[in-house]
């Protein structure tokens, strides 16, 4: 059987603080996890994909022909090519991103935070914001100010806001389940996977939680000090971590 076609390829070579990141990643699975300890460079990779690292050089970032271009036709005109150096401003990338820190807009209600992206797109798509509110069980909180939310509630709004971005071709989630209780996390994972699968949106998430990686049953890139150590299914790549956890429980 041949390997599935990649939906996104990325080569990144950059220095961020003390870390030198040098990775080449080919994403084929519906859900891919960048797994590693804090400070290994996994969040930086997500920010580079979004275009939030102005000095990061991304080479050969492209989508598979089957998936179409990752950037909207209008935005392709904005691409400035300097050799292979790709400079597309973040707002022109069809990439949804939920950062590790929720960073909710404090002057907007929960509903307006979630509808922020759809209100920018023409025609407006309020239905998507409603679906995201339902997906993350936020209807009861929709008129609240972010200042009146708990940590877990803020994180759900953060995720819902990314999921409510129209025209998304790639979903990036940085430590998406931080602050959520395990019961809710276990409920949300299949719903999120279903939502993304229904729209053919691949997802790349970042975690250092073995349990979460195994639960997602995703493709895993194991990263340390800005380099890829291993790549494969979660159960294979994280087998040693799983054994260590089981031993700790005995």
């Amino acid at each position: 059987m041949s390997n599935p076609a990649p939906h996104f390829q990325l080569s990144l070579n950059t220095d961020v603080g003390a870390i030198h990141i040098d990775v080449t990643l080919t994403f084929t699975a519906p859900w891919t996890i960048l797994f590693g300890a804090s400070g290994s460079g996994k969040s930086t990779i997500l920010r580079a994909i979004c275009g939030l690292l102005p000095n990061a050089r991304i080479f050969s970032a492209c989508a598979a022909p089957e998936g179409g271009a990752l950037f909207a036709e209008a935005s392709v005109k904005a691409v400035e090519l300097d050799g292979n150096y790709m400079r597309v401003p973040p707002h022109c990338r069809q990439i949804a991103y939920a950062p590790q820190q929720p960073a909710l807009f404090p002057h907007l209600t929960v509903r307006d935070n979630i509808a922020f992206s759809s209100s920018l797109h023409q025609p407006a798509n309020p239905q998507l914001a409603e679906e995201a509110l339902s997906l993350f069980e936020l209807h009861k909180l929709s008129h609240r100010s972010p200042a009146k939310l708990s940590g877990g509630e803020r994180q759900r709004v953060n995720l819902a806001r990314a999921f409510a971005r129209p025209d998304t071709r790639l979903m990036l989630l940085d430590e998406p389940f931080t602050g959520l209780d395990l019961r809710l996390r276990d409920q949300l994972i299949p719903r999120m996977q279903q939502f993304l699968a229904a729209r053919s949106i691949p997802c790349i998430s970042v975690t250092h939680d073995v349990d979460e990686a195994l639960l997602l049953d995703a493709e895993v890139f194991r990263i340390d000090s800005g380099r890829i150590l291993a790549h494969g299914p979660a159960r294979t790549i994280l087998a040693d971590e799983r054994t260590r956890l089981l031993n700790a429980l005995r």
Binding site: C50, G51, L52, P54, N55, P89, P90, H91, R93, I95, A96, Y97, P99, Q101, P102, A103, L104, F105, P106, H107, F116, S117, L120, H121, P146, A147, L149, R154, R161, A162, R165, P166, D167
Partner: protein, 227 residues
């Protein structure tokens, strides 16, 4: 009290405030480093120091330079005279130019402070949600900087109401045209008319106190807190 001077002072302060909010906003946005993550720091610090110059320079120095450079003796002044048909010195427009430069830090610094307090993560997230830089400014930065705009407007207005040196150097003391309240007080004291000077001074104290009260009252608003 010299009502003509009061009217002229309020008109000058209003026009200066509007001009500075329009000109100072993009300048402050750039100095605060929100316009682009790639902007280098040195040019921004140089601009910040230049903007703050009127805070430490004697107003007469600024007035003198403006008088010379806007007059027929220098190329910029000659170009301006060619363009508008008369020199800017001793006109209301000249007073506006002088006031805009003299009050520049009072508008730009509160705006820089307000923009600097907007969490970079908020603008980053907004851009990944599809907001262009202009939309990020309009939908995120502007609402979170309202207090800064109000402070800038009030301080600029109050500072322009009270300016003396630049106005005297650049505008002279022409009744109804360039004589502001502060110059009117000077004239009244020169004429030993202390009763009139007292009333005018009291009016300036009241305007300035109300302006500062508004600033401190609004500054206590916690609306820029980031969640």
């Amino acid at each position: 009290m010299d009502l003509a001077a009061l009217g002229l002072t309020l008109r000058l302060a209003t026009v200066t405030t509007l001009c500075l909010l329009i000109l100072g906003t993009p300048l402050a946005y750039w100095i605060a480093g929100l316009a682009s993550a790639k902007t280098r720091t040195l040019p921004r610090r140089i601009a910040q120091a230049a903007v703050a110059l009127p805070l430490v320079l004697p107003p007469t120095v600024l007035g003198f330079y403006l008088l010379v450079w806007l007059g027929p003796a220098r190329a910029p002044g000659r170009a301006l005279i060619h363009l508008i048909g008369h020199p800017l010195a001793f006109t209301f427009s000249g007073l506006v130019v002088g006031s805009v430069l003299y009050s520049l830090p009072f508008a730009v610094q509160p705006l820089v402070l307000a923009f600097s307090h907007v969490d970079r993560n908020l603008t980053d997230v907004a851009s990944t949600l599809g907001a262009s830089p202009l939309t990020v400014f309009r939908r995120v930065v502007l609402p979170l900087s309202r207090t800064g705009f109000l402070t800038a407007a009030i301080l600029t207005f109050a500072h322009t109401v009270g300016e003396f040196g630049v106005v005297l150097m650049l505008g002279g003391d022409i009744p109804g045209l360039t004589r502001t309240l502060s110059i009117s007080i000077f004239d009244q004291v020169q004429e030993l008319n202390y009763t009139a000077a007292d009333r005018t001074a009291l009016a300036l104290v009241a305007i300035s106190f109300l302006a500062l009260l508004l600033v401190y009252w609004r500054a206590s608003s916690p609306e820029t807190a980031v969640v």
